[in-house]
Structures are given as structure tokens and as C-alpha cells.
Symmetry: C2
């Protein structure tokens, strides 16, 4: 007997024809319908029933918040769902290595949608995002590697908790209501790594953002829950991590220290494992003005784990080029902007000068290097030059700004990129609605 | 150092004042805002972005489905959310012991909302509910006791999978789309037992129903996912159960056999642990016409686990009376209708004739009885009569109908109860919209 997947077994049930169901079984289903109707109507006036009814009546069709690529405004929860999903579509957003996830895509959409809904200032939205992200990173650390290894996706799970903090702070929830919101998110935060490589991965970010908005809105209306659904008995941490760290992540708590500062931006539209090489190459290029013609040899030393990920020798598509050290090195040496999504067209794999240059590149695994570090040794015939780059190093504000603006230019073109930058750089004078207008304007 | 709950630590972060956040940290948050905006806009035209945007624009404000206690129609997802929550408010709905949960409250609201939205027939809604419930019970068995013991709530988790089947069948999803919907629900199905005793428990049913509707609607628009998110590597089963049973629950698969037939209805508005006693008492009463005055002794033998749950000796409130074998026995012997929620008023605890009768009742633990079984020995001075009732026994259709109609009468009054029954008993001629009208009419 070969193995049958669980989904196939469920599909078989879903496809059963009415004629093959006995009258008695159908009758039992009708008893359940009757009983359900009766109990449901009898519970109609309970306090919790009044609250949830008020919420769905008010949410439905309320044009509260903007959606990327849409002219319609929709309820805040739906805006958070769409914007969370859309912003993770390219998988080109920021990463926090200690959190083990992408904080912005789960939390920013929640902060922005609620801030727009209630007419907060842009700085209020920023603060709510920041504190939500900080909380999310800390909880991501509590859940730890064990959570990730079991199959959960911190972007979605810890992200939902951060989204709740962001939405709850903007709604101005008193502590008891925010406590309820956090316990409510503990019973609906979810997200699995088995979605990687599918539309389900960006959806994980969207559901985190949307769930955060919903539980904050419910708590605001008086919907209550248990005291500590996150950390209490059979709470989120206990049920979702086999080896949580309940102490270390809370040391050096904010505002004294923000681990959010360790946020890393993807500045190249290719596999994260190649970024340290690209940065090291750019450092040498900047210092010695090395052009493509002068290179007779390039050795790239990287942590061996990456050899299984991004060492495609002869890429045939743009996507494969994103996972090819050799080809990416040739592109960088030739002055091609790897921040731009559009350069990764399939045709790039056939450019003779890149193919020639790639032949000079040699990749070696080096156990002594961390998985965020790369060392390169470049030979131009007369000199050998060495550079090392570690992505884990904090970057200066100046370097970050430069990198982010270059990336934006590659993705959106110079004029849109600079228009957005001008607004973000002068956040003080903006409302959250001005900010939301940047989703499309 | 005494222990601090995790939620308190999160609340501290949420309450941080802007002035105590350094300019540099705020600046980093602004970099993230910029980068998020850039990446989000750049991903706007991805296929998945188009799908989720189409979904939220269409869902927002669409008056598709009815809500218990409301005159407004709302989007199907929101109706499912509200009706799932409201119908579990009293915790008086059906139970399936093998599934370890309450199937109807998670699945019926999804089936009904979608059936109303698309204009299906009432029988289509019934079939979708039935097959969703059957799938939910089978998956509940796969997840098993280990899932429940770890802290998960099958009503919510397996319930969401059943809700997806029900919604997907009604939407007429082809197998590949239903497969996507099931893999999408695998990444958002959630629900914890730590919500018990709070508004979060009924909310668990509502989110299951709402999530099922949402993923089915997304899959219908072409949103895709992995192949077997339920049973595959790091899928829902692997991540959410420490000891799943992947074989037994699929034996005797439907349509050959429906374990749904083992569904149990709560016919008394009190703790489920007392129901076997109540049924045994009613059997003796029916057979020998025993009245309250003739009783000089009553022994109740029950599984010892219940002694910690529903053996309150001297109840002081209506709620405590629901957990008191002795007092409930006195009520049944006196002819009080325990199906009615309203008889459990606090004043009932002071009725002299009930207090007197309760003194004759003796409760004993008996390891030889299963936890669904109760034996009673009633002494009227001249005869000792014994009866045993096991809730696990399948009831005849006639007995079930009688019990359900009596319960409905107790909860909603005779005229509403009978009006609903008349409709459900003649489902063939009804549309799902007729059925939805019964939520309020």
C-alpha cells in the first residue's frame, strides 16, 4: 500500500454524492441543523454575542483604510490582510535574524490600517509599528529555534502578536483591554513554514496583520479573554514551542535597548545567502575601481550551508541567476544593479561577457565563517585583494539610507522612489492618511 | 523574584512613551516604513496580489449573509464569524466524543453563510455541513487526545478544516482548488483550550467558521498553496499533534459509514457530566410514575472523574446548581424541565421541597462505570429500583426528535420551537435563504 496524503482523504469526503448518503444520516444532519438554530438563537442576547454582532455590522463595508493597487477603501482588517500579503509577495522585505522572521510585513499593515481608520498622525503609526515590531522580535526569541524547527513561521505567529500591540496601542486600549486582545490573539495566531514557495507564505503575513486588527477591535468593544493567553498554562508559548526561552529575550528590555535596531534590509533582489559576497565585492570595487576586464580570478569563501542553496553553476533563468554566486559576482563586477528586480530577466543568463567573467569565479566552503559572513579574494593579474563582509554588523544610518534609496530606485524608478523618501524623511508633518496615500500615490 | 506573566512584559512595551525612544531607533523604524512601502508597491502586480486585492474589494460590504440578532446582511466571512461565536455562547450545542469537540458551531455557520451567499438549496447546505462535520470528526481523531492534551481545541482546529470542506463544496471548487483551500487552512487553523471559561471559547468556533469561508473564497479566485498542508511534512498534523493516528480514523470511510451518527446533543442546560443521571432518572420515572414525595433514598453511581466536576453539595447559585448531582436529581424528581436555561435562576437553590429532596441523594464514585454512564438506585420505601444510562449509546430517531423539540421549547418557547421544527422537517422545498431567515424569523 503506497501512502495517501491526508488532503486526498478529505477531498474524497468532500466529493460524496447526496444519493450515496443514507436517509438516516441526512436526518441526523437535520437534527443538528435544528439544534444548532435553537441554541444559536437562544444565545443571541449574551454579552459576547452583542459584541461580536456589533463588530461585524460595523466592519462590513466601512471604507476605513487603503489597499495597495486599489482605489477602494475597505475595512481596516481587510486592508491589513491585503497589504500584509501583497508586501510579502516579492519576499524582498526586511528580516530580523534573532526574531527569525520578517517583522514589517505582519505589523506595518496593521499599524497603517488602524492609524488611517482612526485618523492618527504618521508618527503615531511609526511608534505603534516600532513597538509592535520590538514586541514581535522579543516573542520570536522566546519561541526560539524550536518553534521554527517544528514548522512554525515566526513572521506569522510572533508577527500576529506584534500586530495586536500595534493596533491596540493605536486604538488607545487601556491595559485590561490590551491584555484581552493579546489573549485573543494567542488563540488565533498561526502560520506554517510548509507554505514556503507558495502563495501561502505571503498570506501568512496578511493573516497575522488582519488578526491583530480584529482582536484589538474586539477587545476595544469589551470582548474579553483569559489573563495571560500568551505565557500562561496551555497558552501560546507552551503549546507552540518545545523549548521556549522565557528569560533571555526580556533582558535589556526597551526603552533601554531595542533589538529592532538589528533589523536587516534586503538590498539585492536575490538569495539572502549571496548578499555578503555582493557587499564585499562592492567594497573592493569602491576602493580600487576594479572593472570587469581586469579580473583574472575571484575566490569566494562562504559558510558551507550556502553551497546547497545558492551555488548554481550555470543558471538558465533569471530566477536561477538569483541563486548563483558565480553569476551574481560577474553581474556586480560588470556594474549591474542587483537591487533591481527587472535585471533578473532570463536573457541575462546568455550575455557573453557575464558568462566569460563567471568562469573566473571559484566558490569554496569555509566552516570558520558564520552564515552571515563572506570573504573574497580578487586577483587582477598584478594584485590580490581581500575583503570580508558580515551582514550581522550594524550599518550606519548613512549607509542604510543610501542602500534603501538605491533599492527603491531599482524597484520603482527614481521619481517615485524619491517622492516616497521625501515624505518619510519628514514624517512629523504627516497624518497617517497622508502616509496611506503613499500606498498608491 | 516572583514570576511575571508574558502578557505583562508585552504590555510594558506597548506603553512606552515616544520621548523615551531615541531618535536613532525612531529613524530605524522610518527606514523600515520606507522599505516596506517600496517593496509593497513593487509587489502590487504579482498574481497573488491581484487575487487578494480582488477578494478584499469584493468582500467589503457585500450584503451576502444573515447574522443572528441582526437586521443587516454582511459578507459571508463575517456572518460565519458572528454566528459561530454566538451559537457557542451558551455552550449548549452538540458534541462528538471521538472528534473531541463541538462540530456544528464551527461548520454550520460556514455552510449557511456560503449557501445563502450563492443561493444554494437548503439540502445543499445540509450536505455541505454534514460532509464538513464528518471530515472534521475524522481529522479530530487523527489529531487525537495528544492534540487536546497539549492545549489545542479540536472544535476550532479540526473545525476550521471541516468549515473549509463545507464552504469549498458549496462554492463548487474543483479538486485542485479545494486542495489549495485545505492547505491554506492548515496555516491558519488555530484555537486553544486556555480560552475555556472566557469569551474566547465561543470565539474559537467563530474563527474556525470564518477562516473556512475565507480560504475557500480565496482558492476559488485562484489563490494557491502547497499540495498537502494538512498531512505533509511540517503540515498541520505534524506541527500540532505529538501522537497523531494517521490510520484508524480513515477506516470505514464514508459514504460506507458516517461517524457523524455518534453526535450527541445536550438536552439539559447543565454540566454534561450530570446528563446520564438525568436520563436514568427519567427512565425510572416514566416506567414507575415515581413522584417527589415517595422517594426515601437515591444512590447515584458515577465515574469518579465527575466527582471533581459536578458534585457541588449545596449550590448557592443557578450556575452552581448546574454542577450539582444532588440538586439536579431533586429537580428532575420534582418534574422541573432541566432543558430550559431559565429554570436555573439563583432563587431555585432556596426552594424548600428541593432542598429536602436533595438530602436523600447519595453520590458514589464507581471505577467500573465509563465516564458516559450512570447507575441510579431509587428507594421509595417499599421497592428499590435500578436504572443505568450510557450517553454513548445511539438513540433512536424518535427519541432524538422528542428530546430536541423539548429542548427547543425550553429555550425559545413553544411557538418558535415548533415553527423552526416544521421548516427543518421539510427541508426539501427550502432554499438556503429560507433557512437563513430562520436565524431571526
Amino acid at each position: 500500500m503506497h501512502s495517501i496524503d491526508s488532503t486526498s482523504l478529505l477531498l474524497d469526503i468532500a466529493a460524496i454524492d447526496r444519493k450515496s448518503i443514507s436517509a438516516q444520516v441526512r436526518r441526523f444532519a437535520e437534527f443538528s441543523m435544528y439544534d444548532w438554530l435553537v441554541v444559536a438563537r437562544a444565545g443571541s442576547d449574551q454579552r459576547l454575542s452583542q459584541i461580536i454582532r456589533g463588530f461585524v455590522e460595523a466592519e462590513s463595508g466601512r471604507p476605513a483604510a487603503s489597499v495597495i493597487g486599489s482605489r477602494s477603501k475597505v475595512p481596516a482588517r481587510l486592508a491589513a490582510l491585503a497589504n500584509g500579503t501583497i508586501s510579502h509577495a516579492l519576499d524582498y522585505d526586511d528580516t530580523h535574524f534573532a526574531h527569525v522572521g520578517h517583522p514589517s510585513v505582519a505589523i506595518m499593515p496593521a499599524a497603517l490600517a488602524v492609524a488611517e481608520e482612526i485618523g492618527a498622525s504618521a508618527c503615531d503609526a511609526r511608534d505603534a509599528f516600532l513597538l509592535g515590531a520590538e514586541a514581535s522580535c522579543r516573542i520570536g526569541m522566546v519561541l526560539g529555534r524550536a518553534h521554527y524547527e517544528r514548522g512554525f513561521h515566526q513572521t506569522a505567529t510572533a508577527g500576529a502578536i506584534g500586530a495586536t500591540i500595534a493596533a491596540g496601542r493605536l486604538y488607545g486600549l487601556p491595559a485590561d483591554q490590551l491584555r484581552s486582545a493579546l489573549s485573543l490573539i494567542s488563540t488565533r495566531a498561526a502560520g506554517l513554514k510548509s507554505q514556503f514557495g507558495t502563495m501561502g507564505k505571503p498570506y501568512n503575513a496578511g493573516i497575522a496583520a488582519a488578526n491583530g486588527v480584529e482582536v484589538a477591535a474586539l477587545a476595544r468593544r469589551g470582548f474579553s479573554s483569559c489573563d495571560d493567553g500568551i505565557g500562561g498554562p496551555q497558552g501560546f508559548i507552551e503549546t507552540h514551542s518545545d523549548n521556549p526561552d522565557r528569560l533571555t529575550p526580556w533582558l535589556n528590555a526597551p526603552p533601554k535597548s531595542f533589538i529592532f535596531e538589528d533589523i536587516k534590509y534586503k538590498l539585492h533582489a536575490c538569495c539572502h545567502g549571496t548578499h555578503a559576497m555582493i557587499e564585499a565585492l562592492r567594497e573592493i570595487q569602491g576602493k580600487f575601481d576594479v572593472g570587469p576586464t581586469g579580473v583574472v580570478g575571484l575566490e569566494v569563501r562562504t559558510n558551507p550551508r550556502w553551497l546547497k542553496v545558492c551555488d548554481i553553476r550555470q543558471p538558465r533563468t533569471g530566477l536561477e541567476a538569483k541563486f548563483s554566486y558565480r553569476f551574481l559576482a560577474a553581474m556586480v563586477l560588470s556594474g549591474i544593479d542587483t537591487a533591481s528586480e527587472s535585471v533578473f530577466d532570463d536573457s541575462i543568463c546568455n550575455k557573453p561577457h557575464l558568462l566569460r567573467l563567471a568562469q573566473h569565479v571559484r566558490i569554496t566552503g569555509d566552516e570558520s565563517l558564520s552564515d552571515t559572513t563572506c570573504t573574497i579574494i580578487l586577483d587582477d593579474g598584478s594584485h590580490r585583494r581581500m575583503a570580508t563582509h558580515d551582514l550581522a554588523q550594524r550599518q550606519s544610518e548613512v549607509a542604510l539610507e543610501k542602500g534603501l534609496r538605491a533599492k527603491a530606485k531599482g524597484l520603482l524608478g527614481a521619481s517615485t522612489a524619491e517622492a516616497l523618501w521625501t515624505k518619510i524623511a519628514a514624517l512629523d508633518g504627516l497624518s497617517a492618511r497622508d502616509l496611506a496615500a503613499l500606498l498608491n500615490g
